[in-house]
Amino acid sequence: MPKKKMFALVAASSALMLMASGCASGAGNAAGAGEESALSFQLSEPKSLVPHEDPGSQVAMATCANLMEVNTESQELEPLAATSVTSDDAQHWKIELQDGWTFQDGAPVTADSFAKAWNKTATGSNAWQGNGSFTAFEGYKDLNPSDGSKPTTDELSGVEVVDDQHLEVALNAPNADFPKLLSTSALCPLPEQAFSDPEAYEENPVSNGPYQFVSWNHNEEVVLEKWDGFKGADGFSGGADKLTGQIYTAVDAAYTDMTAGNLDMIRNVPATMVSKAKSQLGEDSLYEVETGSKQYTLQIPEYIKDLRDPDLRKAISMSIDRESIAKSLLQGYASASDSLVPPSLDSYEEGACASCTFDADEAKKLLKKAGGFDGTLVIEHNSASDQQLVQAIAKQIKENLGIKVQLKPVLGTELQSRRNNQELDGAVFGLWGWSYKSPDQYLSQYETGGDGNETTGYSSKPVDKLVRSARASQDEATAAKTYAEAESLIVKDMPAIPLFIPTDFGLHTECADMKEVQGDLQFYRAGYGC
């Protein structure tokens, strides 16, 4: 699952272009007859191999099997380590675990393995990245007291271990997405030694997934091998006996290594590299992710008084020719967005945002209706990654509306703290993505106090009500309809201007069959084709 990240791939200096064109490589790490099959994938030095500390990591996805998973063929959510996850009211959940599952060292996976892992992750002072996944759990606030005092407990009051095979979870409010949450790495189980000797566990993690950890040569590689004892093999079709995460600091170096035949899989390929790869490695080397999970937007904080008028916001939106930017600057590797959610989500309705089509005349009319704009439109953005794209957008707003636009490039960490602390000077350009496939992952940004709501601070009672009711609905069709209804209210106020849905690409050699890797390119699911 990609962790939410606002800032896309930090394009390593695009100035570093290859001078000569390399010839396409032969088979990567091809294994001869009788040898074990091996695939390698691009990785950056992990901060930790424990899934809860670095939930977006490829190693975490390969080593841990969660309670639920998305079936590669049907794309449906299915139980994996659980036999069932049920609830009558979407707030109180009953989880039954599969019988006989063990960790890779033979220790049984019990309800306790989950409960203890969840408690530790939800404890704020541990500062584990997975912490945010537990906000919906009852008792989260007690582990993270808002006044900064030391928590009086170290357990989530909403998690109850009934017996070795049964768990009960109470949430703060009904949330039908709970089973989806159970498919993310932050909710993996942990074996006993993760608590008794955490330091040793960090260097030598044991989990319950299809691959087991072999070695971590810091800054060079992480080696995994297929685990025979994996019980969820029915829905798993991963191919290679051995998986090596080769560690690169820059995607350019990984690319060069692939052209030399030393690497099988790369993900998050920058658009500039896609065209180069087409000519050097051939069309077949490109894997296009069909499910667009990310979206570029221009968000407008409510606390910027100048930009409050919805007509002004719509004028800005209509002055941007998304199609032409997508075609020229983004080389066709993105599509124009006309909704606050990407088309892959159930609640998506074509043209939900009527003011998201380019119409310079209408934009000018709206600007007039809003009483003009004398100030300067400030657009903050990540100085490292989005420079050209934001410049193109600013140029169109300037030319088509005749207003002053000023760009403010900010360092990534600085921009994040400015968003979180509501210190922005104007609109902010950013990228959003889901952790699991649900409209909630996008629309909660516009719910008072919702996930990601800090940036705009947008708040509307009817919207809150609709989003919460959609979230509580266990019927997917009803939920989608209610989410769509909420969106139709939000776009009237335009707290965010939808811009583009980027197309994600991966690169692979002949040996790596990418059919099963899903939207977020889970390398461990790749088939072995040599």
Partner: protein
């Protein structure tokens, strides 16, 4: 000689304090919030942030933070990063790689640079000298990353003699190409310095005297000319080794070598102050050590500086 050595070491103390203070202050002033970098777009709860800030003394005034840091440093404690890993461990993990690269590059540079420089100096004004000049101008003129990417494509990808990225092949195969690129770049400067210095010495009065006394040409050149010509060269060599240890950021990125430079850049981006200051302090110490070595060598080559 002993007194001279002690004096030089004594002078290092204020330099260490001054340099770490400056680095610490600059890191402190960098924009951005380290806690924000820690968790990505989903902010940690207020309480957690407060606890982390407290644990890492982030809310203390600058001088207190610096005092804490120096106190730890005196006890050999470089602190821990925000993921709880000891900074010293992170640095030591990468230091051998950086040393291997820098030393290999430095030795290659020494051989190449001195050879070209001495050759040019002895035959100055003749065809060989001009050829050497053109050679150095090319390497000084073309940006380093162009040479690096070109070499990577030709020798790593097309010819396949070495791996184009990573150090899994170990020393020397994994280091030879990046080291050669670094060596050729740096050798150009060394060659020109050596040549100029040698030409200057060869023209001096005492060289004429030496020759007039009837010394063999070999003794004149090796015993007198080169020894004197080497004084500026030794300084340059010593400091450039220290420079190579910290300055290979671009080469490290292109050839995917997990060295100190790359760690420094990532840490600056994430505003991980303890790592930035740790590396910088380490580099200051290394730099001072080589500076000391140069000064001592100086004393050996030229007894006048010992006074």
């Amino acid at each position: 000689m002993l007194g001279y050595t002690i004096r030089r070491i004594g002078q290092m103390i204020p330099v260490v304090i001054g340099a770490t203070f400056l680095i610490y202050a600059l890191t402190f002033l960098m924009p951005g919030d380290p806690i924000a970098a820690l968790t990505g777009a989903r902010p940690l709860p207020e309480s957690t942030v407060a606890q982390i800030r407290q644990a890492y003394h982030l809310d203390d005034p600058f001088l207190v933070q610096y005092g804490n840091y120096m106190w730890g440093l005196l006890h050999g404690n470089f602190g821990i990063d925000f993921f709880g890993r000891p900074v010293l461990g992170l640095i030591l993990e990468r230091l051998p790689t950086t040393f291997a690269l820098a030393l290999t590059a430095w030795v290659l540079k020494l051989v190449i640079g001195l050879a070209i420089g001495v050759y040019g100096g002895l035959r100055h004004g003749r065809a060989g000298d001009h050829f050497a000049l053109v050679f150095t101008v090319v390497f000084l003129g073309v940006p380093g990353f162009v040479i690096a990417l070109g070499a990577q494509t030709v020798f790593g990808v097309q010819l396949g003699w070495v791996n184009p990225a990573g150090i899994s092949a170990g020393w020397p195969m994994a280091f030879i190409l990046p080291a050669l690129v670094m060596a050729f770049e740096a050798a150009a400067g060394l060659a020109r310095l050596t040549r100029t210095s040698l030409v200057g010495v060869l023209r001096s009065e005492y060289m004429r005297t030496a020759r007039a006394k009837g010394l063999s040409p070999r003794r004149v050149i090796w015993g007198h000319a080169l020894r004197n010509a080497m004084i500026p060269v030794v300084t340059y060599l010593g400091l450039s080794l220290a420079g190579m240890l910290g300055g290979a950021v671009i080469i490290e990125a292109i050839f995917n070598i997990p060295g100190i430079g790359g760690l420094m850049v990532t840490s600056i981006n994430n505003k991980e102050g303890t790592i930035v200051v740790g590396i910088a302090t380490m580099l200051v110490l290394v730099y001072l050590f080589f500076n000391l070595l140069v000064d001592l060598l100086y004393g050996v080559i030229d007894p006048r500086v010992r006074v």
